[in-house]
Symmetry: C2
Subunit: 346 residues, 2 copies
């Protein structure tokens, strides 16, 4: 008999609320014979204030034993900027070698977008997750003085770039349009840019069916608002991926519906799935948060674990629900979760 042993990290702010709905839909969609075990972890601002800990070695040991991790949101204004981001979120991505940060963008019929003319949007960003300017390399000298110098080092390795580029080519090959765009800034960041571009061109030779192109990150933001339909799969570095996926989320229905997976394709460590949005402390505890992004992250989780049919059912339920929502008064977090749970079970 099959089983899923899930680590659940509700986290801060609206994290609690949206994760509850994610689990609700997960339970509803899973076949009877699949045993779902969950263990909740208390990471986030509360634990940090109580203990000073963000993510210990013992925590990592424990998390390691799960099949996957579902995360709500981590972050609170009471904690200095960077402490939970570097001490928890990025620490986990690096510790579990989550080098494929998968962020699909699809504008569903009837869903509001800030763009005029309701363009067709259906692409996925493969963001590198363990290198670039996210490594924490760099430092500060003469801190707090008029002569302070602070550096940030973007580290890019052939090993790290090639594995994520390969993952992106395989995804592009599996999609109907078979198109892959490299986004970088190789005319300015020439060291990293050449590495990315050369590896991209080398791997491209093995995928003759995949159409490729290259766009600078600044120009990519233009296309994302003027011609988002030009994108199918995008591969890019950690920082550029961070920036363009927020923009991608904004144009394709908002961060209320943007899902992501922090994936280790080798399965050496569990992958983590989370909504792109943050903890939104301003609306926390009010039942106002949209759990859709978390529910879609559950679909990514299921697909990663091989439950494709169940993932498809969630995607279809969300599409139907979003279409139905258009023009209706806003529903509460749990009302949306309930509706989705009914749909996926049906």
């Amino acid at each position: 008999s099959r089983s899923i042993n899930l680590a659940v990290i509700p986290g801060d702010g609206i994290g609690q609320e949206v994760v509850a709905e994610g689990l609700k839909v997960l339970s509803a969609v899973l076949p009877q014979d699949v045993k779902l075990e969950t263990k909740e972890y208390d990471f986030g601002a509360k634990r940090y204030h109580a203990t000073g800990e963000t993510l210990t070695d013992a925590d990592l040991d424990s998390l390691k034993r799960h099949d996957a991790i579902l995360l709500g949101a981590i972050g609170d204004p009471s904690v200095p900027s960077g402490v939970l981001e570097r001490g928890f979120l990025l620490k986990l991505r690096f510790a579990f070698d989550h080098h494929v940060n998968l962020r699909p963008s699809k504008l569903l019929p009837g869903v509001a977008t800030p763009l005029a003319g309701q363009p067709e949007i259906d692409f996925v960003v493969v963001r590198e997750g363990t290198e670039g300017p996210y490594t924490g390399n760099g430092g500060t000298i003469r801190k707090g003085t008029a002569h302070e110098v602070a550096t940030e080092v973007s580290v890019n390795t052939a090993f790290g770039v090639e594995r994520v580029v390969r993952d992106a080519f395989a995804r592009a090959q599996a999609r109907p349009r078979k198109k892959l765009t490299l986004v970088h800034k190789n005319n300015v960041l020439t060291f990293a840019g050449h590495l990315w571009t050369n590896i991209f061109n080398k791997v491209a030779e093995e995928y003759p069916e995949v159409t490729t192109d290259y766009i600078h990150v600044d120009a990519a933001t233009i296309y994302l608002v003027t011609d988002p339909g030009r994108f199918d799969v995008i591969v890019t570095d950690n920082l550029f991926g961070d920036i363009i996926t927020d923009l991608a989320a904004a144009v394709s229905g908002g961060i209320g519906v943007a899902a992501s997976g922090n994936i280790n394709p080798t399965r050496e460590f569990p992958s983590m799935f989370e909504p792109v949005h943050g903890s939104a402390p301003d609306i926390a505890g009010q039942g106002k948060a949209d759990p859709t992004a978390t529910v879609l992250s559950v679909a990514l989780l299921l697909r990663h674990l091989g439950y494709d049919a169940e993932a498809d059912r969630i995607d279809a339920a969300v599409a139907a629900d979003l279409t139905e929502r258009a023009g209706q008064p806003a529903r509460s977090t749990s009302a949306i979760g309930d509706a989705l749970a009914v749909r996926v079970a049906g």
Copy 2:
């Protein structure tokens, strides 16, 4: 009697065409008593192919003697990515210490935007121009092997950050809304992020009338499409500024109307003014390029040199022309230039 001694760099692709119109409008707007002298320089792809040179010490010596520089566009697909960017554009910005890269965004009535609902957009980005990941620091080891490592170092100094932050506060203070937003990624790039944030907060104390806030660069891209009206003045680093100003241009009328100034406020070296767009080789020589961004860059140039009334006349002429354009068939590059020249003279 007054005079302007201008260096003119038409450059590549549509650069030639748009600069011609910029000069046409400049001549038309200047009062009789101002003597305009121009010297044309042949920088760009053609000279690079002929001589291997991009920008020599002798070139810099010569450019230095001008009051300001007007640039069309530099870049051509026949030149490897990075050669002209690093060898000319960035070399000039660094050599002349163009630390304030000024990029206004204003959506004029009737002008097309990809955003629904024709939002109000009127802000200016003050992008740092001489530091960050643009310094060329970094390198590559084991190039071309499976063990290649490429680094890019973002260099940030208290000196460099403080001068651009001060410039931005002064600009915010001079605007009706008096609002300044710092855009960075201080939760991940904590070394540079703390330097920027601390200096920003310190200088803020001297400007009690200026309302300040902070946004991560990824979230800034969301606001630029969902609520661009929230911005008045933005100050940010070199790379984030590059990215968000292309997006800002896209939402506020397109890169056909986005102007920029690479400014050295100390006036130790001449400042350079250029459209945000590139050389667009696909439409070069066809009279299709919109010279408006170049004409608006001429207005920034005039304002920098103290010709405020003339700059205002250009801005007004462009506003009137853009409003008139709405729904009309596209005009040629020179037709737009002619129309603007007539308006500013009138």
